[in-house]
């Protein structure tokens, strides 16, 4: 009988103990992959959202930073607004390359983003060429908005669909994009959060691009000094509350993972200690028959690795499928947007999870296996 055959027989021989090791590794690999996927998915979504925003500064009414960020990131309704003349004042500041106002409205579950196609530099670059002239009564849909026909009905209007954006995993997937004329019509019937409609000519936020070579932080400070009632948010600091939440989540996951890791390693180590103790005589017979210490060591380690590999693969498949299918629920439960990582990124995560599970099994089993492989046959037989 070869080494693998012996290991397989031993796995089948003690089903309960094999099941304990199997479940420990399955849980460990599955939890490791699912937490990594959630954190990576949130990061991917945040990065994609920031790329999509494409502005150096997001100028919002003073005190409304969190509200606007919530609208952009989680699609929560907002009724904040600032007067339209502020856009001209921002535009007139030295060092400003481009300014584009946006208006956020909410109808049911859909976030409506009104933008100015003439000055826009954040939404249209993501569209195909033919969709770039967005007129009144036309709409661009986010990736998650369903529509089976060529028209999209919202707030009593039937809008012609002109294009669709790629998914970001955030609220922008559930958003529809219209020009400011269409938004102005909708503003009459769509209350932003169930309260009074925003006044005509007002905007929710202004996206700003500064000229090359201009320090963005200094420009933000200058804006606050020059124009009262606005709050510029720098792109890298955008969604700061979301990053805080994600950091908290990450530390929570790391803590739980560490506990699970230690418990799983201890349980696997204990099981292998019991297994090796029980088999002392059997191992002694093998040694007396001419099996080397290395053969004994390898056969016991192979047993651990066979169990570990099978359990880790099943755990990884179940976890990946679970996170993929329940991504919507995960996102709404923990309050962060989520985008499933790309295939290449996923492949590397799967490999890391598998390797982590196997290393844990090998390390946990190493000490008892090593000890029993050093056993003197004569002593073991006398016991």
């Amino acid at each position: 009988m070869n080494l693998l055959g012996l290991a397989q027989r031993n796995v089948r021989g003690n089903r309960f103990r094999s099941a304990v090791v199997f479940l420990c590794v399955l849980g460990l690999a599955g939890f490791f992959l699912s937490t990594t996927l959630i954190i990576r998915g949130a990061e991917t979504s945040l990065r994609r959202g920031l790329d999509r925003l494409g502005a150096d500064l997001l100028v919002v009414p003073s005190g409304a930073e969190a509200v606007v960020e919530s609208a952009l990131l989680m699609g929560q309704p907002t009724s904040v607004w600032m007067p339209g003349e502020l856009v001209d004042r921002i535009k007139s500041l030295p060092g400003i390359a481009a300014v584009s106002p946006q208006l956020y409205l909410t109808s049911g579950d859909v976030l409506v983003v009104g933008f100015d196609p003439a000055s826009d530099f954040t939404i249209q670059p993501w569209l195909r060429q033919e969709s770039k002239s967005l007129g009144k009564g036309e709409v661009i849909l986010g990736a998650g908005v369903n529509s089976t026909t060529g028209n999209f009905n919202i707030a009593g209007q039937s809008l012609v669909i002109k294009g669709r954006l790629d998914g970001t995993g955030g609220a922008l997937d559930m958003a529809v994009f219209v020009n400011l004329d269409t938004a102005a019509e909708m503003r009459k019937v769509v209350p932003s959060d169930g309260t009074a409609p925003t006044p005509a000519g007002s905007y929710s936020a202004v996206l700003v691009k500064v000229k090359p070579g201009i320090d963005i932080s200094k420009m933000a400070l200058y804006m606050v000094q020059e124009i009262m009632g606005i709050s510029p948010i720098q792109s890298p600091q955008m969604f700061a509350w979301f990053r805080d939440q994600m950091n908290g989540l990450l530390w929570g996951f790391i803590t739980i993972l560490s506990i699970i890791w230690v418990l799983a390693a201890v349980a696997i180590g204990l099981v292998f200690s019991m297994v090796t103790n029980e088999r002392r005589r059997q191992i002694a017979v093998l040694r007396a028959l001419g099996a080397t210490r290395a053969f004994i060591f390898r056969s016991l380690l192979a047993e651990a690795l066979i169990l570990g590999t099978a359990a880790a693969i099943i755990g990884i498949v179940l976890a990946a499928a679970g996170v993929y299918l329940f991504s919507g629920q995960v996102s709404s439960t923990i309050g962060i947007p989520f985008l499933f990582p790309s295939l290449s990124s996923l492949a590397s995560l799967l490999a890391v999870s598998l390797a982590m599970a196997l290393v844990t099994v090998a390390l946990a089993a190493f000490v008892p296996v090593f000890r029993v492989s050093r056993l003197e046959p004569a002593i073991a037989m006398r016991e």
Binding site: V110, G144, N146, M174, L325, F326
Partner: protein
């Protein structure tokens, strides 16, 4: 091994029958209001009801796979498990369907049925292959 597969199918069969009853839009208090003012249940409710008809025979499949020692019974329960698992998936995915993407049934019920249906189908397939390859004699 087929005992373990039987237990997995048995547990998931209960979940397939019960979980949709508490995760559909009607249970969450959502319904369609017609122009006449009456409320009509959304289609996810009918999917949830139909899943009971899938879950109950799946219980039998799991039980047979768990206790039976007859090769032919194991083979037929494996085939039944595959078909019923596929139905558990097909009901929300196409045969009846669920509501639009922003509705509650889309967040839990549909992915859960897809997840459980896939595991049931896979477990039944493994059980079937094992039964076909086994050398057990007919009792």
């Amino acid at each position: 091994m087929t005992k373990i597969l039987g237990i997995v199918i048995l547990v998931l069969a209960v979940a397939v029958a019960v979980l949709p009853q508490f995760t559909n839009c009607q249970y969450e208090g959502k319904a369609i209001t017609t122009a006449a003012g009456t409320t009509v249940p959304m289609k996810c409710l009918w999917t949830a009801r139909a899943e009971i008809a899938v879950g109950v025979p799946l219980l039998a499949v799991g039980a047979i796979m768990m206790v039976s020692r007859r090769r032919s019974l194991k083979i037929s329960s494996g085939i039944m498990g595959i078909v019923l698992g596929a139905f558990a998936i097909a009901l929300p995915e196409g045969l009846i369907g669920v509501c639009s993407s922003a509705m509650p049934c889309n967040l839990v019920m549909e992915p859960a049925l897809l997840y459980m249906g896939s595991i049931i189908t896979t477990a039944s397939l493994v059980g079937l292959v094992m039964a076909v390859r086994s050398k057990d004699k007919e009792l």
